[in-house]
Point group: C2
């Protein structure tokens, strides 16, 4: 393996960068801030997409596609929204190039200047609600439950692969409802969908909560979120679901006639997850030897490596592995037989370890004689010699599900062991400096206090957990009364 | 049905526009030249995507994702390529907006001007080959078989939904090979994949051929294509596959070391189909009553409409239809039971006819008593009363396949009846003016002659058909010798 990965203890951030590149997930492109998602990384993203898309459709949503470009004036129609996004917009000003008069390359044709500049969508509320005005007339047109898979662009100065890039891929749901109650129920339903996806497919335990005002989506009345803990104790926001009230309906004049024939503004939600989830997946489970993937999202669940000396042995062993692979495929398992003759088994072992394949099978002539194979689990690194008889069932029904649940359990234990309660500001700062992790603490509920704590410690309120019990206390910063603890952490 | 559709005989072009809107496939957005793909239209596109993606993967391709934005200088590196695309580029010049000094809305921040302008990809050869330089070192890295699903932008002055829009969705394959032979074989393989998809899934007969120089992709040595005939006799290019030679490898300096350790430039292909296929699908099969969809791509294959008067009848009939729907689903058929109580059966019949659902089932109390249902085919408009017993099998195994093949057969007969041979220019012009359609004629092989014929008749060479037999003759325009007939038509 030419690609040396920095260890986590040495430098967690370098470890992440090294790993994303070495495992062929993504790389920086020559376009500032934009990434190339490589085939192996994209295959994981496709698995995420397929599962999420299924869950969206099961909850009654349909996909559609809206324009990439948004007229500049649309952005200004919702006051908070434009404040949130104007400073990081890619702006299209011209629609043509022409040959440079000096004969060297092309220049922007000044005669092809647009009357109104167009913005590459940073998110699509404005263009979509401008469209919904024509789609919604009556209560019979509601609810309107639409999702879009798309690329979006937010000009970022400091970028990191998957975690923060100028262009990223995501899905954005945009729904329209007749009542506030129904829109709030939708917002919460999609939060549950995201939480289920994170827990059951990504094997990432998440905390469901609602954002404080400072961290709310620009234009939302409430932002719900799921927050996950990475191995360095920092938080990563893994998905958000927004209750937008009537803000966008008012900005774009979207009204409907009720059953009683009254004209009312429509209620809205929006919700999204992005390729950022790839970063969360890597940082939750992987180790110093490479990626560790939960079986539910692994493009290859089982890799098989033949051990041989002679051509006859090669044919015999690869033949047997191909038979096993066919049987595993029938059992619904994705398999690769790595029958490359140029590379040595040791090289292959390291390569597939780096790529996070959950189960590795090795088979040599002596194993075969004894009716055994060697199986290695990527999560625990355990190796065992097992009878070939019954191995297909064992892998499909026991080993893969066990890896999936072990990864979740391990992440949960990590999070539990690094979640603290702080009752004083001194204690709060000490935990952040010396240990890092999640801190449950009392807060007086004001944006000013949150801002000061952020400036002094870098920690922000990740969310007010939905299951946070009511508990009287005093704000760690101001000493003012507080009715419940909120979740603080330094965040990605 | 509030949406009146112009008849084809009255105005084919208006018929198309009316139908795309009335059937809820797409609409123009408020962003000039860009469309909104509505949920029903997007559901058809998703079916196309799923099938094509499967076929790409079966032929060894992997998906990846490259940046939306391309540095202006990249475009200039391949001379023909920049000539082909520079005049229709959306150009990003700034990365920030700021509040307008007059307090009204936002303006482009002049301080956020980019050092180098970025182009929204019109196609991705340049950014991808700039990336491949780092991915390819040795013959062991080849072939590199990659596909991307993406949005692209080509600034068009005259737009039509699906057929020609500034932004469209597509897939673009970009492969790299060690030899010209291998790259040419890949180019032809993907042409076959497209032809198979068009014939077997879209039920559209296509002519496979190679483009004349005038119609070649900007930067290609050869462009292969599939051409389909629409109901007005015009041709529509439904997919292209390009042999790019070493043009992009040379422009971006992509070399590999051969087995003999020599440095050579890499050979390239690219190939794509787009949401334009939606236009081809509509224009091939549909009629004055609405869309006609081939079962293989229909989001709903069977719709069921209950006929009832009383609540008891409604419960009984809908219950029976739900049972049938479950059985059909198990047989792999997509079904919708339209149990809406606000709308009358006649309204529903017209609605689902408009949306092109291949099979309609109606069931009333008397039918049920007699053990029959009424089945109507969208393609032939035939209605029949059939025994409920065995209906699931009949629909899944007979009716749907029969509709699929009938649509193909009908389109093939239409094309055959409107394909002519012309031996003189007078004959050629007469056919174009009086009948329209495909014309097989001799051509002297020069771009000048093709250009003059185009200027005088609007007809272009759609392709030199791959199965065109060698046949001596004389060019209809210049009288110069010709060795085979080529395919002329007016085109979309």
């Amino acid at each position: 393996m030419a690609n040396k990965i920095t260890s986590r203890s040495e430098n967690y951030s370098e470890w992440y960068n090294d790993l994303v590149k070495a495992a062929d997930l993504a790389e920086h492109s020559s376009v500032r801030g934009c990434m190339v998602i490589k085939p192996y990384g994209y295959a994981i993203w496709e698995k995420m997409q397929a599962q999420l898309d299924k869950m969206f459709k099961e909850t009654g949503h349909q996909n559609a596609y809206f324009p990439l470009l948004i007229p500049k004036s649309f952005l200004s129609k919702e006051a908070q929204h434009v404040d949130g996004f104007a400073k990081e917009c890619a702006v299209v000003t011209h629609h043509r190039l022409k040959n440079s008069p000096d004969g060297k390359g092309v220049i922007v044709d000044p005669e092809a200047k647009l009357e109104e500049e167009l913005i590459i969508r940073p998110t699509s509320e404005t263009i979509i609600w401008n469209t919904y005005r024509d789609w919604i007339q009556s209560y019979r047109d509601l609810p309107l439950l639409i999702n879009q898979w798309a690329n979006v662009m937010r000009w970022e100065l400091r970028t990191r692969l998957f975690l923060r890039t100028a262009e990223f891929l995501w899905q954005e749901g945009h729904t329209a409802h007749a009542t506030a109650e129904e829109a709030i129920a939708e917002t919460k339903q999609m939060l549950e969908v995201y939480a289920t996806f994170a827990e059951e497919f990504m094997a990432i335990p998440v905390i469901k909560g609602v954002k404080s005002e400072n961290e709310r989506f620009a234009g939302a009345l409430d932002t719900y979120c799921i927050e996950a803990m990475m191995q360095d104790g920092k938080a990563l926001q893994a998905g958000t679901s927004h209750f937008l009230g009537q803000n966008f309906a008012k900005a774009f004049d979207v009204m409907f006639s009720t059953k009683e024939n009254k004209q009312e503004y429509v209620w809205a939600t929006s919700w999204g997850v992005s390729t950022r989830l790839m970063g969360a997946l890597v940082m939750t489970h992987s180790d110093d030897d490479g990626l560790v993937l939960p079986p539910a999202l692994a493009p290859i669940q089982v890799v098989m490596v033949p051990i041989y000396k002679t051509d006859e042995e090669y044919d015999l062993i690869v033949g047997k592995l191909n038979d096993l692979a066919s049987a595993l495929k029938i059992a619904g398992v994705t398999v690769k037989v790595d029958s490359d003759r140029q590379k040595k088994p040791g090289w292959k072992f390291a390569e597939w370890e780096l790529k996070g394949v959950p189960v590795r099978i090795a088979l040599g002539p002596r194993d075969l004689e004894q009716g055994n194979i060697e199986m290695a689990r990527r999560d625990t690194k355990e190796k065992a010699s097992l009878p070939i008889e019954g191995i297909v069932d064992k892998i499909a029904r026991e080993v893969l599900p066990s890896i999936q649940s072990n990864l979740h359990q391990r992440a949960l234990e990590m999070r539990n062991s690094r979640t603290y309660r702080a009752d004083t500001y001194a204690e709060f700062k000490e935990i952040l400096e010396q240990k890092g992790g999640f801190i449950l603490a009392h807060w007086d509920g004001t944006p000013e206090t949150e801002q000061k704590i952020k400036e002094e410690t870098k920690a922000t309120i990740r969310c007010i957990p939905l299951d946070s019990p009511s508990e009287s206390g005093t704000c760690i910063y101001t000493g003012k009364p507080s009715e419940r603890r909120v979740l603080f952490a330094e965040a990605y």
